[in-house]
Structure formats: C-alpha cells, structure tokens
Amino acid sequence: MSEWPFLDIVVFLPLAGTLLIGLIPRARVGALRIGALAVTVVTFLLSLGILMNFDTGTADFQLGTSVEWIPEWGISYITGVDGVSLWMVMLTTFLMPLSVLASWSVERRAKPYFIFLLTLETGLLGVFVSLDLFLFYVFWEASLVPMYLLIGIWGYRNRVYAAMKFFLFTLVGSLLMLVAILFLYFSFPGSPTFNYQELLGTPLSLGTQRLLFLGFFASFAVKVPLVPLHTWLPDAHTEAPTAGSVMLAAVLLKLGAYGLIRFAIPLFPDAARELVPLVMTLAIIGIVYGAAVAIVQRDMKRLIAYSSIAHLGFIVLGVFVGSIQGMSGGILQMLNHGLSTGALFMLFGALYERRHTRRIADYGGVARSAPVLAGVFLFVALSSLGLPGLNGFVGEFLVLLGTFFRYRWWVVPAAFGIILAAIYLLWAYKRVFHGPITNDANLRIPDLRPREMVMLAPILVLIAFIGVYPKPFLDRIEPSAQKVVDQLRDSSALPEAAVGDADAP
C-alpha cells in the first residue's frame, strides 16, 4: 500500500483534472462544477492515504519520490512530506472541494475558472512537497499565476489593481529568493545540485548567510505577510472571489510561513538565529498592528484580511521563538488559521451573494433573518479569536507559552493581540448580525442553504475537534518541529529553558 506514490498522485491529480474540465463544453456550467468537485474530492480522498501512511515517529521526509530531472544542472524531482508539510497538504486538499462548493455561483467563464482553481491546487501542493529548490521555485511561481488570474478576472470592482499589486509584491519578493537560491546553488561545494537535503550542509560565512536569509525572507515575508509588506493582502482579499479569498487566506499565506520553516531557517540557521529579534519584532508589530487596523475597517473582507495579518504574526512569532511549544503551536496555528479564516471568508461570501455589499454598515440584524448563518459565523469567529475549547486557542496558547519560555516580555504585546481580536471580531459581528434591522434589504436574507451547510460542516467539526483533542495533530507535528527548533537554536549557547525551570522572572 505504501508503495503507491500517493504524494505525487495527489499533487498532479488536480492538474490532470484540468484536462477533464477541458473536455466539458463551456456552456455546461453544472457539469463543470461537478467535474471540479469530483476531481478535488478524489484528490482529498487520496490524500487521506498520505495521512494514513504517515509515520508519526520520525522527522524525516516520507512517502516521496526522487527522480533526476535535468541532471546536467543538478535539478531533480524530489518530493516528500514531514510533519510540517503533511498538514499543509491535508489543509489544501481538504479546503479545495469546499472552495469549489463556495464557487457554485460562478457563472461567468466558469470553465477557465475551475481550470485555474485546479491548477492552483497543484501549484500549492507542489510547493509543500518539493524538496528540490528548483522544483520548489517552479511550483512557487506556478501557484502565483492562477491566483493572479482568479483575482484579476473573477474579482470585484477594483480587481485589476488588486491582482497587479498582489502579483508585483510577490514577484519582487520571489525574485530576491531566486537570486538567493542561485547563489546557494553556486556556493555548494560538491557537484552542483538543487537538492534541498544536500544543500542543507552548505558551508557559508555568516555574512553570506545573512544576505541569503534575507533573500529568502523577502519572499516569505511578503507572502506571510509581515508588516510593512502586507498592503497587498487587504486589496487582494477584498477583490478576490470567495474561493480565491479562501485559498488565499487558508493556504497561500501559509506558503510564507512554511517557507520560513522549511527553507529559511534550516538552510541558514546562524543567520536565522541572529535575526530572530528582527523577525519577532515584525511578527509582534503584525499582531498588534493588524488587529488594531482591523478594528476600524468598514469593509468586512478587509477586516478579515487584517485579522489574517495578526494571526500570521502569531504564527511567525511561534516559529521564530525557538522553542518546541512555539514551533508546534505555530504550525498548528497555520492549520487553524486556514480553517477558521477560510470559513469566515466562505461565510461572508455566502452573505455577499445574498446582499452584494461588503460594507459592514449595510448590514445589521442579520441574525434575525439568517440565524443559522449568524450562529455558524459566531462559532468560527470565536475560533478565530482564540476561545479555549476551539482550535485557535490551542495554537495561540502554545505560541504564547513558547514565547514566554524564551522571551518573557514579548508575550505581553502578543497576548494583547488577543484582546484586540475580541474587539474587532465581536464589534464587527455586532454590527453585521446584531441590532435592529435598519435596512429592509436585510429583512429577507435567506439562511444557509444545504450546499453551504455541507461546505461548512466539515470545517466546523474540525474546529471543534482540534480544540478539544489536538493530540493527533500535535503528535505528527512535533518531531519535525523539534528538528527545526534544534536548527534554530544553538544548543551550546542557549540552555534549554525547559518547563520546570524555577527561576523567577
């Protein structure tokens, strides 16, 4: 069973699925939807094979393949998953069918839409499983294009500006990364290779490491996004169609954090260690700034976008504090944010379909006309603001705990972000769902339809499940997380600030 190359099949199945979609005539929108749904569902089911065959006990890469691609230049096709990428792959395959469901109302140019959506899935999955820097870069850029088109063609009014901004921001970042990759490639002492695992051992001076780290960091920081490189996100989120927002928030943003964990830290551990204060400062600024700005947004999608910035700040903070709690929490939080923010976008997308406005002020009292929608929204919002018992809390708590273990005072502004999260989410919730109905258009908003319930139910179940019993997730994350933490920490210089150290603050 495990001989099956599940991983590679899962990665390329959506791309193959575009051929299927290509065969369906353009006018048969219904068939297109069903086709896309079928492809994504099958992909998800196959990805369960990855989950089942995953060996919990090891931090090594598993289930991958390795074939030479362009041997002259040391380029190979190498894939594999570990505890970090496993969940990212699962998150992608899990959310994709739901995104297709969220795209049910796409009538205009449905065929290319679904083709791009499926291409996007392959691109994203490819990023998460590539263990060859060249391959990684190819997928990295490949995931950019379909998203750009999704925003630029199926977005809302200001979509071209948003798509362009998104594209240029990310492109500038990734070009710096390309330079860094090439530099690394040429400084590798052995026979030239892009193989990630071989490159890990490249001897580099600290100065070089620092530059290369910043090169990678530029790309990932834009994608995360860290303040002040974040302004593409609100625009892109606001203008993107629902499924685009979902994938953007849930998976695309994770590429940045994932890249930091997979590439930036292990490849340049000394530089990473040295630049921890910088990255942590940016992360914390992101937490507080993102949340504060979210409070005053008038546009619901913008608000959620800014909340993403705050959440991603938490993730980066956890990744860089250099403790296993922070790292595990950060990785789990990547999953959590994908679920809850994805669901928030789906829910608001559903609301948008009913009312065709994103302005918060246009709503009010919706809980009366659509109680189930309101209830589900509240549930997801609570997950997003870190209510204990739901998934967000587990990740946030671990991040804070990890931060506290290493950098005591940094935890205060980070935890302050939790208050702000409550403020912006509940205030927005109040303005949208509570209060009297002042606008007659809100009087007859249909409640969630069965399709939407089917789309949301799996997410809600997972949100509650991770909140109550995160152990299966943490168990699989921990070995890989530990490995990265070890790389980030110079064990000789910093003693393990283990739980139980009784030194007083």
Binding site: I295, G365, L387, P388, F416, H434
Partner: protein, 633 residues
C-alpha cells in the same frame, strides 16, 4: 474508581449534551426544550448530591479525587490534560451551580414562555452550566481557563439574547471584551505559572506555591490571576460590564451575573489561595482592598439607581467585593460561605425582579412602580426574604456569612477594611430597602397598560425554594456546629475564629447597622415627608449626587480615555499609515516607474534617422571601447 470520580464527567456532560441537542434540534421541540434543559441540569444536581455524599462518606483527608480523562495539549515538556478534580471546594460549587441553575431553568420555563427563540435560550443556559462546571471541576489551570472563557462566551450569548435591541447587543460585546481584558491578565498568569511551576495542575501549582515559588514570582502570578478575576467577577477597574449586562433576560442575570459566573473569580482566588499566600501579603492585600473599595463604590452607585435590575447588579458587584475582601484577609471559607448564601438570595431577588418585570410588561424603572406586594404576594414575600438576607438581618442567611467576613477582617487587624465593610453594610441595607419600599410598599402604582399578576407556577417553583434557602441558608455554617468552614478546611486551610465576647459584639454591630440602613430607607421612602427629606439631603452635596448618578463618570472616562484614543490610533494606522505611508510608497514606486516611462518614451521619436544616429553613436563608442580594451598593435 470512586463514585464521585465516575460521576464528574457526567455532571459536565449532561448539560453539555442538553446544549448540543437543543442547539441542533431545539427548533422542532417547542416547549419541550425547556423541560429538557431543566432536566439535564436537575439530573446533574442529583449527581452532584450523590458525589457530595460519596465524598462525605470518606475520611476527611481522602476527600479529593482527581480523574484524568484524556491528554489535551502536549508539546515538548509541556502537558495539560483534561483532568477533573472533585474535592470539597469544587463540590460546593457544583452544588450551587447545578442547584441554583436548575431552579433558574425551571423559572425560565415560565419567564421565557412565548419567546421566539425559546429553545435557543435553554441551549445557551445549558451550555453555560456545562462551562461553569468545567470551570469548577477542572484540575488544571488551563482547563479552568476553558470554563472561564466558556462562561464568558455564554454570558455574551445570553446578554445579547435579544440582540435586536441595540443596547443588548452593545452590552454583550462590552461584557465579552472587558472580560477579555481580564483574561489577558489571567492568561499571562497561567503562562507565568506554566513556566515557573512546569505543571498547571491545581495540586502542582499549589504545592509549588507552598514550596519553591519565590515571593516575587508568586506576587506577580497572583496579581495576574486576580486581574482575570476582576474581569470575571466585576471588580474595580473592570466592573463596568456588569450593570450593562442587565440587558439580558432576567434569569440570565440571576444565574450568571449573580449566582454563579461572577463568583468564578472568588472561587479561583480561593482555589489558588496558596499562590496568593506565597506572595507574602502583597497580593492578598491588593485583593482585600480592591474588594473593599469595590464593595463601597458599587454600593454608592446602587443608592442612586432607579433601574431595579441595575440596583441588583451594583449590589452584586458590591457583594462580590465582600467575598474578595474575605479572601484577601485569608478568610477563604467565609468568602465561600458568602458566595453560597449570596447565590441564594441574589438569585432570588433577581428572579423576583424578573417576576415584577414579567408582570409589568418589562418595566424596570422603580419610579413607575409601587405597592406591588398586594398584587403579587408571593413575589413580594420572597423578595422581602432576600432583602433581609442581604441586609444582614439575623437569622437570615446573609447575616451569618457577612458577619463572618466582618469578623475575619477585624481579627486580621484590618480595621480600615472592617470600617469600610461595615459602612457598606449600612449602604447595602439602605439601597435594598429603598428598592423594596419603592416597588412593593406604598400605594399601588404600575405603568399604564400593565396588569400585575403574581408569579406563574413555574416561576414560583423557583422563588419559594430560593427564599427558603435565603432564610435558612445560614445554617450551613453555624459557628461550631455544622460548618462549611470545617468541610472546606482541607482545601483552604484552617480558619481560626476566636472565642469570647468579641465575635458576638461584632455580630451585633453588623446587625444593628443593617437594621439602621433599613430604617433610614424607611424614613426616606415610605412617607411623603421622606421625599422632602431626600431633597434636603441631596442639596447638601449636589456634586456628589451628580457624580453618583453618573456612575462616577467611569464609563465616560473609559470611553474618552481608552476607547476613543485607541480607535483614533487604529483609524490613523488604517487610513494614514497603511493607505498613505505604506501604500503610498508602493503606489509611489509604481507612479514613479509609470511617470518615468511616460517621460522616457519620448526618446522614441519615430524618426528613423534619429535612431540611426543613436546606432552610430553606439558603434563609435563600441569601437572606442575596443581600442581601450585591446589597443591597436
């Protein structure tokens, strides 16, 4: 496994299951929802009683059983499980929560009758009870935090139950956010303890507090935890949410904002008393003083309030202050005792107020009421029991509990605190009597169109038992007889009530002060002469009256001082930093490139000959470079 350990998960599970069932299928149930909701809590209460007796049946030192359910969060060396602890303290809380909770559920069947979201109400109530039980049964600070935030959530849901009303929606949001501010502090406390102690189990934390924890760490940890308590238990400076929370349905106010949730802070302080003790006095002093000042502060505001529910809300804040005062002077069992009796009489009064509102079509302004005792005798009588109990009139429940707090303060040599507490007793008796006289005594006065009627059966079914408990509740801690104090001793440590004449004298003073308060209120509010006396008194210090009527401007100060600047800063970030500065740079670069291209493209004149000249220039330069590079010959 022992009976109590086996039962513990079920005590939580029943209301939780009720909540889930009601949320999912409540819509189709109609009135049955109320019955299911009440039944789950009722059965949970019975299970609690069984557990209680099972605990009692064991020797005193074995009355704490912990049960590990499953691992929750594990990362590296950090572990937090879902563990339940049944001991003397938690079982008392379980009994209060489920007992009072069950009565209020029953009451709600009548009170919420006809509401369109009737099943939803019971779902939320059940969910609340479940979270509250998680809070009190948790054997682990992190799990306690789950309950802690969970009850906050339910409080949010229930305050905003009538979310169509703007005030209700605002109050709900305010409650949650203010609580979150407290929780921020609480969470930091948890992190600190997790770091220094390494374990978050109650036993682990408390034994570490007794042992290796330094005074400095303990002080910081205790104060951070207490910061959480000020939010949840509505103490200065975070009490502002509670009066607004009265926008919720009255049973909610009774259950959450009087009897149970708001006392969670007190429970937590008592639970982690070793941490507070370990700080060497500082933390406890802060707790005591915050409690005392809050008690006085809230009592003052209660005197000027006309909204009956808000009077009760301020009174709750004030009484919670008493409990913290008790905890602060080390009289944990006294605090717990007052917590229990307060749960009885305050729930009773809230329910009574609810019955009044129910009868008067939702009217809450006491100026529009009067003489209702004749119209609704059951309510009037039971309410009177509550008033007497809270005013500390012997032999009602409040007398005993309040007296033990006052005595503890006195014997801990905290005379200033004692003085404040006694004065507050006077105020308490005054404003409660004022409320009673205005609403129930005098000539019949009702808002137009209202037809006052006595409480329906389901409501009376809750009022009467609570009234009985308010009357006789004191017996659970009759000095040197059956004592709660003694029962709780293994958890909170011995309390030493001295013998001799002093306790009697102190008790007498408290009693006299309480009666005095009632008499003053009678002088002011029952006769027509009272009104003129009132005016004369108000003229003495008009600024004070204004200040009290405006709640000392606290809400306004918070609004102007924190919320507004915060919002302004956020707006600034959003509209200036983000759109002008950062996006300005981004768009500026784009503009610059565009502009440069716009200018630069004029190089393309379209004249072939122009291009040819440039080409020639290139050729000349290239040949020149070749000369320089390789030279000739």
């Amino acid at each position: 496994m022992t009976t109590d350990a086996v039962l513990a998960p079920f005590i939580i599970g029943l209301p939780l299951a009720g909540a889930v069932i009601l949320l999912l299928f409540g819509k189709r149930m109609g009135r049955v929802a109320g019955v299911i909701g009440s039944a789950t809590v009722g059965v949970a209460f019975i299970l609690g009683v069984i557990s209680f007796f099972s605990l009692l049946s064991r020797p005193e030192e074995e009355r704490a059983v912990s049960r590990h359910l499953f691992e929750w969060i594990t990362a590296g060396s950090f572990q937090a499980g879902v563990d339940l602890l049944v001991d003397q303290l938690s079982i008392v809380m379980v009994l209060v929560v489920t007992g009072v909770g069950a009565l209020i559920h029953v009451y709600s069947i009548g009170y919420m009758h006809g509401d369109e979201r009737y099943p939803r109400f019971f779902a939320y109530l059940n969910l609340f009870v479940a979270f509250m039980l998680v809070l009190v049964l948790a054997d682990n600070l992190l799990l306690l935090y789950v309950g802690w935030e969970g009850v906050g959530l339910c409080s949010y849901l229930l305050i905003g139950f009538w979310f169509e009303r703007r005030a209700a929606a605002n109050a709900a949001k305010k409650a949650f956010i203010v609580n979150r501010i407290g929780d921020f502090s609480f969470l930091l406390g948890i992190l600190l303890l997790a770091f220094t102690v390494g374990s978050l189990t109650i036993g682990g934390v408390n034994s570490a507090a007794a042992g290796e924890l330094t005074a400095g760490t303990a002080t910081v940890a205790a104060l951070l935890l207490f910061g959480g308590a000020t939010g949840k238990s509505a103490q200065i400076p975070l009490y502002v949410w509670l009066p607004d929370a009265m926008e919720g349905p009255t049973p909610v106010s009774a259950l959450i904002h009087a009897a149970t949730m708001v006392t969670a802070g007190v429970y937590m302080v008592v639970r982690f008393s070793p941490v507070f003790e370990a700080s060497g006095g500082t933390a406890l002093a802060v707790v005591a003083w915050v409690g005392a000042i809050t008690a006085l502060w809230a009592a003052l505001m209660a005197c000027a309030e006309y909204d009956i529910k808000r009077v009760l809300a301020y009174s709750t804040i004030s009484q919670l202050g008493y409990m913290f005062l008790a905890a602060g002077v080390g009289a944990y069992s006294a605090g717990m005792f007052h917590l229990v009796t307060h749960a009885f009489f305050k729930a009773l009064m809230f329910l009574g107020a609810g019955a009044v509102m129910h009868a008067l079509a939702g009217e809450v302004d006491m100026r529009k009421m009067g003489g209702l005792r004749k119209a609704m005798p059951v309510v009037g009588l039971t309410f009177l029991a509550g008033v007497l109990a809270i005013s500390g009139v012997a032999p009602f429940a409040g007398f005993f509990s309040k007296d033990s707090i006052l005595a503890s303060a006195w014997f801990e040599d905290q005379y200033a605190l004692w003085g404040i507490a006694v004065f507050t007793t006077l105020l308490t008796a005054f404003y409660m009597a004022r409320l009673f006289f205005r609403v129930f005594e005098g000539d019949l006065k009702v808002p137009e169109g209202a037809h006052p009627h006595d409480a329906p059966r389901s409501m009376a079914a809750a009022l009467v038992p609570l009234a009985v408990l308010a009357v006789i509740g004191g017996v659970i801690n009759l000095p040197r007889l059956v004592t709660l104090e003694h029962f709780l001793e293994p958890v909170v440590g011995e309390s030493h009530v001295p013998t001799g004449l002093t306790p009697w004298v102190l008790g007498g003073i408290a009693l006299l002060v309480g009666i005095a308060g009632i008499l003053i209120a009678r002088a002011f509010y029952t006769t027509t002469a009272g009104a003129t006396r009132r005016q004369r008194l108000q003229r003495l210090a008009p600024w004070f009256v204004t200040a009290v009527r405006n709640k000392f401007f606290v809400d306004r100060i918070y609004g102007r001082g924190i919320v507004l600047p915060g919002k302004a800063l956020a707006s600034f970030s959003s509209s200036v930093l983000d759109t002008k500065v950062i996006d300005g740079v981004v768009n500026g670069v784009a503009w610059l490139i565009g502009r440069g291209a716009e200018e630069g493209r004029h190089v393309q004149t379209g004249y072939v000959r122009n291009y040819a000249v440039i080409t020639l220039l290139g050729v000349v330069v290239l040949v020149g470079i070749l000369f320089l590079r390789i030279g000739v010959a």
